[in-house]
């Protein structure tokens, strides 16, 4: 195409979207909220140790273990804040009329918007991680393995991309930002409420590993008998657990994850074990597959959308 080719047009869209994103009140709100929660998580143990007189143990792995520290709901809220207006907002605000008549293909506009959303998200998470690194060092002493934080960032961004794909798909199909937010919140809640029920009511908790969200819960350090509480750290097998599992895997590639169920009379029965590497690879594939399908749906409807008013 004449006049500079594809790349300058793509980056113009990214720029358009980034300038819009950084001035969004919603996004700033979620970021401030996340920083507040992070502060609370850091400060609360200090307050408690002062009250109880118990000294706070040093923990050199606090920061890599905690990661961005906002959990599934936090990542979902970031996804909504970044993506809910991205496509539907152009139609609702009437701005699609000029944007879509510029000499940029709809596919380029879609890719530019997606890229900007990922950049925004990555920057917000990098800020959170830096904040946690500083705060964690102050509260828990010198931190180790900080070089693994980029993995944490990558993992959290991929997990959030999956939620964002739901938001974008609903937004693109409905052309309504409200539906994009509420619809995907409905999906999130249904999974959040439904997952524990599935895992408690059946032996089929593995299904959860193929759904968006927290997935099934297993425990590290193999089957030691007794109750899970005496076992190692809990592992989420779902798409929300990618960051934590990436870091665990990098620290110790040979870990196993064991799954249990609570049977009659509170007896704990071991179901099966699998390598952490398998859990991790599966969750990455699942998150990527959902993202790919949902983004394709969003792109396809956006590309064909007429601008009625």
């Amino acid at each position: 195409m004449a006049g500079g080719g594809w790349a300058p047009r793509f980056w113009a869209v990214v720029r358009y979207e980034l300038l819009w994103n950084i001035r969004k009140k919603k996004l700033i709100g979620v970021l401030v909220l996340a920083l507040l929660l992070a502060t609370l998580a850091l400060v609360l143990p200090v307050v408690l140790s002062n009250v109880t007189g118990l000294e706070l143990a040093r923990n050199p792995n606090y920061v890599v273990d905690t990661g961005i520290g906002v959990g599934g709901l936090g990542m979902f809220l970031f996804a909504v804040a970044v993506a809910m207006n991205s496509i539907s907002g152009e139609f609702e605000g009437g701005t699609a009329v000029t944007l879509l008549t510029k000499p940029v293909s709809r596919t380029t506009i879609f890719l530019g918007k997606l890229t900007a959303a990922l950049i925004t998200l990555g920057s917000a998470y990098a800020l959170l991680l830096a904040y946690m690194a500083v705060g964690g060092t102050i509260v828990y002493g010198p931190q180790e393995n900080l070089h693994l934080l980029p993995l944490s960032l990558l993992g959290a961004t991929l997990s959030t991309l999956m939620w964002m794909s739901i938001v974008l798909a609903v937004g693109s199909i409905s052309k309504s930002s409200l539906l994009a937010a509420l619809g995907s919140f409905g999906v999130f809640m249904a999974l959040a409420v439904g997952s524990p029920i599935i895992s408690m009511a059946s032996d089929q908790a593995w299904i959860l590993s193929y759904l968006p969200g927290g997935g099934a819960t297993g425990y590290l350090a193999g089957a030691g008998g007794g109750t899970p509480y005496t076992l190692g750290a809990a592992v989420s097998t779902g798409t929300d657990g990618i960051a934590a599992n990436l870091v665990r895997y990098a620290l110790n590639p040979s870990l196993n994850v064991t799954f249990f169920k609570v049977a009659n009379r509170m007896q704990v029965v071991e179901l099966y074990s699998e390598p952490l590497s398998a859990v991790l690879a599966r969750s990455i594939l699942v998150a990527s597959a959902y993202s790919a399908v949902l983004l394709a749906a969003a792109w396809y409807t956006f590309r064909r959308a007429e601008v009625l008013d």
Binding site: G4, P8, Y16, L19, T95, T98, P103, R304
Partner: protein, 314 residues
Amino acid sequence: MDLAVETVGLTKRYSQLTAVKGLNLEVRRNSVHGFLGPNGAGKTTTIKILVGLLRADEGVVRVLGREVRWDAPETRLKVGYMPELPRFPRHLKGRELLDIYGRMYGMSEQQRREEIPRLLEVVGLKGREGDLIGKYSKGMQQRLGIAQALLGDPELVILDEPSLGLDPVSMVEVRNLMKGMAKEGRTVFLSSHLLFEVEQVCSHVTVIHRGVALASDTLQNIRGMLMGGGVVEVELAEPCEAAAESLRSLPFVSRVEQSGRILTVELKTRDDVRAHISRAITGSGGVIVAMGWKGRTLEDVFLQLVSKPVEGGA
């Protein structure tokens, strides 16, 4: 004939309603072409199809010689478009928006640095380019709409109701802007429901009503088409029956009415024949005090067109 816009049998339906019915439109290059019709005539619908916001149900659309199907960024590269009551992202500054749009047209940094301040000046937004668009009035957004339609040196500028919502002073400015675009060698295609606006800037006019083109021609011919010819009013020093008689014998005069010292001369032609009239009156002993051309306005034509459609148009 070199056409900037051509549609053949263009049809667009919104569920039940057919908003555009078999429209044949021809906009010549380097003309200022008015697309005239009352509200709901189908102007915006047609324009949105030209710029790729709506899909045609039937018919062929060519813009700048290329057939437009769907999502044709190469064609849009040379087309500027101002939507009806344009709206822009509230969170961007006027300057930022033009800069980003400029990048989308593939303008270099140098080009943007020169062109954007010039455009801001032209549309009268200078000094406000650093404000967020959310703080702009409707009129300022309209001006920004014109500025962005001129980015990237377009060959064709499409303006949908460019003076909608503007105060009278701004309307005059916008009209002058359109004349300026034409002088720069661009084709201007503007829609309007305002007859006097079209009359003041357009060289060609297509009249559309209920999705059907009623007529399409030069402004002059559109006027002349249904009116026969012009009307000349002559004021004499004193009533003179011989003068009226001599005028009636002229071949291009269809009717002469005398009322005191005033002669109203209806013509069969649109040509300016005042010299002939003057000679005839003087030759028969009349003395002319004043003489004026009283053409009928486009408004008259429009009302006549609406009451008796000319099928097919174009």
